[in-house]
């Protein structure tokens, strides 16, 4: 609506600014806290301007971690998180793009049955199947390993479903033209479908990267070895007992570090992400 009512404009700006402040202030506090020493943070009131210990705190957590709770270096945890956040989307896409291809372009017995089987798993998030999954992973000896962290989360219907919907919007004539041109099904897949799916893949990557990076419950369950902690788990393990025992300045530094990669991925891939969700290149 285009209206020329200055008071309304003022009011809506005010609401928006308050909203932004509500979201941004905790983040700011986290950042400020990560630049002070523990003693300064524990003072009441705590300082609201950045302190001089930024470099010191960050290099300490990255290289050697906290001294209480989880003592592994956060650098290692970041790498673990990164492995998880990369293997999950890439694995998901590799599997689901092929299965969607099969479901959309081939007629085989029980095709619909298989599609619905895949679809039904959408209703079973990790949390629901977590105990049986844990049992399986434990029996396979995959606790405290990258395989254990990633494989159970790779299988999912979301991506298959997304690709199926996308493939169904591609006109049949394109597949027929490729057939007349002499392209085998796999050739059509590689030369036509994959290039057309680029934007969908980018959108999916962003969503799944964040999904993988932010996993909490699953890594919490299957990692007992500090060297396999992800950064999110690291934060949780660093918080020990009473307030005075926790090294809050280091926890806050870790939190800031854990927040950066997803934010970075979203910012860098924003253009592709939006493209993949709203428009298709057909």
């Amino acid at each position: 609506m285009v209206e020329n009512r200055p008071l309304l404009t003022l009011w809506s700006h005010a609401v928006l600014i308050v909203g932004i402040a509500l979201v941004a202030f905790p983040l700011y506090i986290t950042f400020v806290a990560s630049t002070h020493t523990l003693e300064e943070i524990l003072k009441v009131p705590m300082p609201l301007l950045p302190g001089p210990h930024l470099w010191e705190n960050y290099s300490q957590v990255l290289a050697s971690g906290t001294t209480r709770g989880a003592t592994a270096p956060v650098g290692q945890m970041m790498i673990n998180s990164l492995v998880m956040a990369l293997v999950i989307p890439l694995g998901k896409m590799a599997i689901s793009v092929i299965s969607a291809f099969a479901i959309v372009y081939f007629r085989f017995p029980l095709r619909n049955f298989f599609f619905w089987m895949i679809f039904v798993t959408l209703m079973l998030p990790v949390e629901v199947r977590i105990i049986p999954t844990f049992k399986v992973i434990a029996d396979l000896g995959m606790l405290n390993s990258y395989a254990g962290l990633t494989i159970p989360l790779i299988a999912s219907a979301t991506a298959t479903f997304l690709f199926r919907q996308f493939f169904m919007t591609i006109p049949d004539e394109l597949a027929e033209a490729a057939r007349v041109d002499g392209a085998s099904p796999m050739r059509f897949f590689m030369d036509v479908l994959l290039p057309l799916s680029k934007t969908t893949m980018a959108a999916l990557f962003v969503i799944q990267f964040i999904y993988g990076w932010n996993q909490y419950l699953w890594p919490l369950l299957i990692t007992t070895d500090e060297s396999m902690y992800t950064s999110v788990i690291g934060i949780k393990r660093m918080i020990v007992g009473g307030d005075a025992l926790t090294e809050w300045h280091l926890v806050m530094a870790t939190a800031i570090l854990a927040m950066l990669p997803p934010a970075l991925v979203v910012m860098l891939m924003q253009k592709w992400f939006v493209k993949g969700l709203v428009e298709t290149e057909k």
């Binding site: 006109p171 033209a177 490729a178 007349v180 041109d181 002499g182 392209a183 057309l196 057909k282």
Partner: protein, 336 residues
């Protein structure tokens, strides 16, 4: 280039649902044949069977002297132009045309020679680096044709290629298609529902209705001697008048009716609609029998532009050689 033979070609999806009921046709080498029919008559299905995109339930299709029933589209040596062009959206015009050749393993010098030649014929030279979405409808259509030309196939198959274009462009592309066929002389099968396209492009045409070939022949021959009431009523605009008379159906084309004195009238019509088209005037009305009840046949007459058309009674006559007779039950032509 090759001849194409359709021998009792049939298609059914289930035993009850048969969509093509035995079509027979010999298409000569280098001939331009148009398959014409209303939507849902099976004309596209027939074309897709020739292309190999639909299976053939019964009968035989041969291209040259090879029966192709069981061959994949790529092995049939055909090229197809689709209604919505079906260009690969992520490839440049050059790549769109070259794709089929690359798959066939041609050398890149051969590919670029063929693509450049096709681009020259179709005046696409400037656009070779563009993506299809940066082209207009007519240019996309030309790329789709270019993709067919570079393959140098035995047969071109066109599936309503002009129906997505606006009227003016359609006329222009029709001319280009004709010129292209003269130049290349490749056997062509062209599906359309537009009778003007069929009349102007075809050397021979096949008029289809409900999965059957109603008539096969040169356009003017089909126009002059429709084999069935369906063909009579489908071709011509407005189509042939069909008037029940003496237990038979009398067919007269609107342009063969001329106004006359009431005493000479062979037909009288109650004119209720007048469409002046500039070059001529078309009047529509019911056949007005003396003492008729108004439930009689609709008649259209094409009058010269200077005729004084008005609503009301109009006496018309026709030359006896322009009268066609059909059997009302079977719809077949009765030759005197």
């Amino acid at each position: 280039m090759a001849a194409v033979s359709l021998r009792d070609v049939r298609k059914s999806y289930t035993p009850e649902l048969q969509v093509i009921h035995g079509v027979n046709m010999e298409i000569k080498d280098g001939e331009f044949v148009v398959i014409l029919g209303p939507s849902g008559c099976g004309k596209s299905t027939l074309l897709r069977m020739v292309a190999g995109l639909e299976t053939i339930t019964a009968g035989e299709i041969a291209i040259g002297d090879r029966v192709v029933n069981r061959l994949e589209p790529k092995d049939r040596d055909i090229a197809m132009v689709f209604q919505n062009y079906a260009l690969y959206p992520h490839m440049s015009v050059y790549d769109n045309m070259a794709y089929g050749l690359r798959i066939r393993g041609l050398s890149s010098s051969e590919i670029s020679e063929r693509v450049n030649k096709a681009a020259e014929i179709l005046e696409l030279g400037k656009f070779l680096d563009r993506k299809p979405r940066a082209l207009s409808g007519g240019q996309r259509q030309r790329v789709a044709m270019g993709r067919a030309i570079v393959r140098e196939p035995q047969v071109f198959l066109f599936d309503e290629p002009l129906s997505n274009l606006d009227a003016k462009l359609r006329v222009q592309m029709r001319g280009e298609l004709q010129a292209l066929h003269r130049r290349l002389g490749t056997t062509s099968l062209f599906v359309t529902h537009d009778q003007v396209e069929a009349m102007t492009l075809a050397q021979r045409m096949i008029v289809m209705n409900a999965g059957r070939a109603e008539q096969i022949g040169a356009p003017l021959e089909v126009y002059a001697r429709p084999a069935t009431t369906f063909v009579a009523g489908f071709i011509g605009s407005p189509p042939m008048n069909l008037i029940p008379k003496d237990g038979k159906l009398l067919g007269v084309r609107p342009e063969h009716l001329e106004p006359c004195a009431a005493s000479d009238a062979m037909l009288t019509m109650d004119v209720d609609l007048i469409e002046p088209l500039g070059a001529d005037i078309i009047v529509y009305g019911h056949e007005g029998k003396p003492g008729g009840d108004g439930s009689s046949a609709r008649i259209a007459a094409r009058l010269p532009a200077d005729a004084k058309a008005q609503a009301g009674r109009l006496a018309v006559r026709y030359a006896p050689q322009n009268a066609h007779w059909f059997d009302p039950a079977s719809g077949k032509r009765i030759d005197a």
